[in-house]
């Protein structure tokens, strides 16, 4: 089973985010693989371990994205493709999906696994558009995955009201929820092996894309402004008789914070 996993390198949210000229400052930050993409990698590796085949990870982004790709190779992916082209920067979901579709079409594949959304933008647009561009069925927000034979997946997906159990014929695209699995850490052996695995670096032209189709120029969604979250206000401290304090806190939660409204 050949599986393609698009991954996004995002700012480590543990760190303080800075805003410069209406955008999140990108320099001097540390980057990690978006967390749902780690679940996607783990799912792909488990399927590969069961049915054989290859896992290819793909990332669109500047130089630093190669670090995330190496990390995925260290976890056990076989090949990586890095689309590193300044013209791809500031693409919207549609632009990224166009690039990923071209990468996926470079070779035969049975399955694409994405995270259900990116950890930085929470947009969740790229996966569905990619499925559309490739004419693939898609199952989103997968929390359980089984596969007895390589041509079909049995999936549980989390809906608003409960779980939906579906059977999916491949080729297809699925998107992982973080409860799907526990992403593995990279072993020392995997880390040392990663640098010997192939990592192709491509430009847009290599994929037959012109710079105005994607990036800021091709974007149909444009970010006008970015507002960082408000600084957290200092907490309140209550002391005294437990019953009295509880009553006071409940009153404030109901009438001031209006959490039950």
């Amino acid at each position: 089973m050949n599986i393609v996993v698009p991954i996004k390198s995002v700012i480590d949210v543990e760190l303080n985010i800075r805003v410069q000229e209406g955008k999140i400052a990108k320099d001097g930050m540390s980057y990690i693989i978006s967390k749902w993409d780690e679940n996607a990698i783990e799912a792909a590796l488990q399927l590969k371990e069961k049915h054989g085949g290859e896992v290819t990870v793909v990332s669109v982004g500047p130089d630093r994205a190669s670090e995330s790709l190496r990390k995925a190779l260290a976890m056990g992916a076989d090949k990586a493709v890095h689309v590193n082209d300044p013209a791809a920067e500031d693409s919207d979901s549609f632009g990224f999906a166009k690039i990923l579709a071209k990468v996926a079409q470079r070779g035969p594949f049975d399955l694409i696994i994405t995270g259900k959304q990116a950890q930085d933008t929470d947009m969740g647009g790229t996966g569905p558009i990619l499925a559309e561009l490739l004419g693939l069925p898609q199952v989103y927000n997968v929390i359980k995955l089984e596969s007895d034979e390589p041509s079909t997946l049995k999936l549980n997906r989390l809906g608003h009201q409960g779980q939906e159990m579906v059977e999916l014929k491949l080729p297809a695209l699925i998107a992982a929820n973080d409860s799907l699995n526990e992403p593995r850490l990279a072993s020392l052996r995997g880390i040392m092996a990663a640098k010997k695995k192939p990592l192709d670096v491509l430009k847009l032209a290599d994929l037959g894309l012109s710079p105005d189709e994607v990036g800021a120029k091709g974007a149909r969604v444009r970010t006008l402004e970015f507002q960082p979250p408000k600084r957290r206000a200092a907490g309140k401290k209550f002391e005294g008789d437990a019953e009295e304090v509880t009553r006071k806190v409940m009153d404030l939660l109901a009438n001031e914070a209006k959490i039950f409204a």
């Binding site: 020392l188 640098k195 957290r232």
Partner: protein, 404 residues
Amino acid sequence: MNSFMISDELKMVVEQVRRIIEDDVIPAESRVDPDAPELAEEDYQRISKKVRSLGLYALELPRKYGGGGMGTFEMSVIAEAMGQHRMGLYNIGCGVFGRHIPESIWSGTEEQIQQYAVPAIQQGTHTFFAITEPGGGSDPANAIQTRAERKGDRYILNGSKIFISHAHEAEWGVVYARSNPEAGRKGISAFIVETKTPGFTAKPFKVIRTAAIPNVVTFEDCEIPVKNRIGEDGQGLSLALNMLSRKRFPYSATNLSVAVAAHKRTVEYANQRKTFGEYLADRQAIQWMLADSELDIRTTRLLIWDGAMRADRDEDIRVLASMAKVYSSEALGRVIDRCVQIHGGYGVTKEFPLERWYREARVRRIGEGPSEVHRMVIARDLLRAGRDQRKARERSQAATPAAR
């Protein structure tokens, strides 16, 4: 100074270590008493097993003994991530990545290494290192009174040691004793001593530090086979000196790790806590403390990394090792003191790790050679050339009678 290149591989190893600390070690730590010296045994076994399955156990151990074969620089970078938890200073990684054993064993024979060092590391058992005596620790060459008397194929040990960490829970340790009372510094030998040896007792006592509990150790006619002597008779104090110097860099990086962890929390806290209607972060008095801590942390890191890289290039790093030791332990003291102050009362509650870091940091300026002894090493090196010249001049003046 060379710029520091951290390879992608090293970055990834550090990231895995950081995740194990955050996802496994810290939650397990929160389930034991804030003063506990160790994790609960089942947590230790579970996490350590995971670490082993990832090949991240005993990273500094040479590959031929089943370790990760990491160098001094790599271990220093890794230690900065590994010590960022409550017990981190004196029980780094809570031991799940392997425990420290006395360096001098590596000067032993292959048989001694196979019999003692390798199993201790692989099984994660405690060991001890006994040099300090009631008569003093800074100057062991003069202070050591414990006697090792040769009788045929054995040495008979008599005497006592103090402040010996882990001796009550160890299987063996390295003991320094005087085998030739006439030979001064060259009369001290090192022995591998099993704690089950008749006549060996270890009595733990309480200090400011609640990890790695120290002991009074006594030897009453302990019979030690000659094959358990490390190196030659009289070589004790010159064993593994190079290794001891190298190990000061990851040791210093542990000081750095705790300073980094404490500082990170404090920067966040300053942006949350309000007094007199303003955030602490907006007070210059607080800003200056934070800026000073940042300076302390960055200078410490540069000092450690520079020395560690030189160690890996086999340069003479004895003096740099002393510099890293003094500077990192004192910088940690300053940083943690500011962090406690900025946290106010919360800085000294046992709810947070700051209190434990503050207490244990104090020992870092005393153990492994007090600051004064390391400053002495640095100064001696600075002054050696001039002093030699001065002495030569004095000698030649004494030889030629005054011209008057």
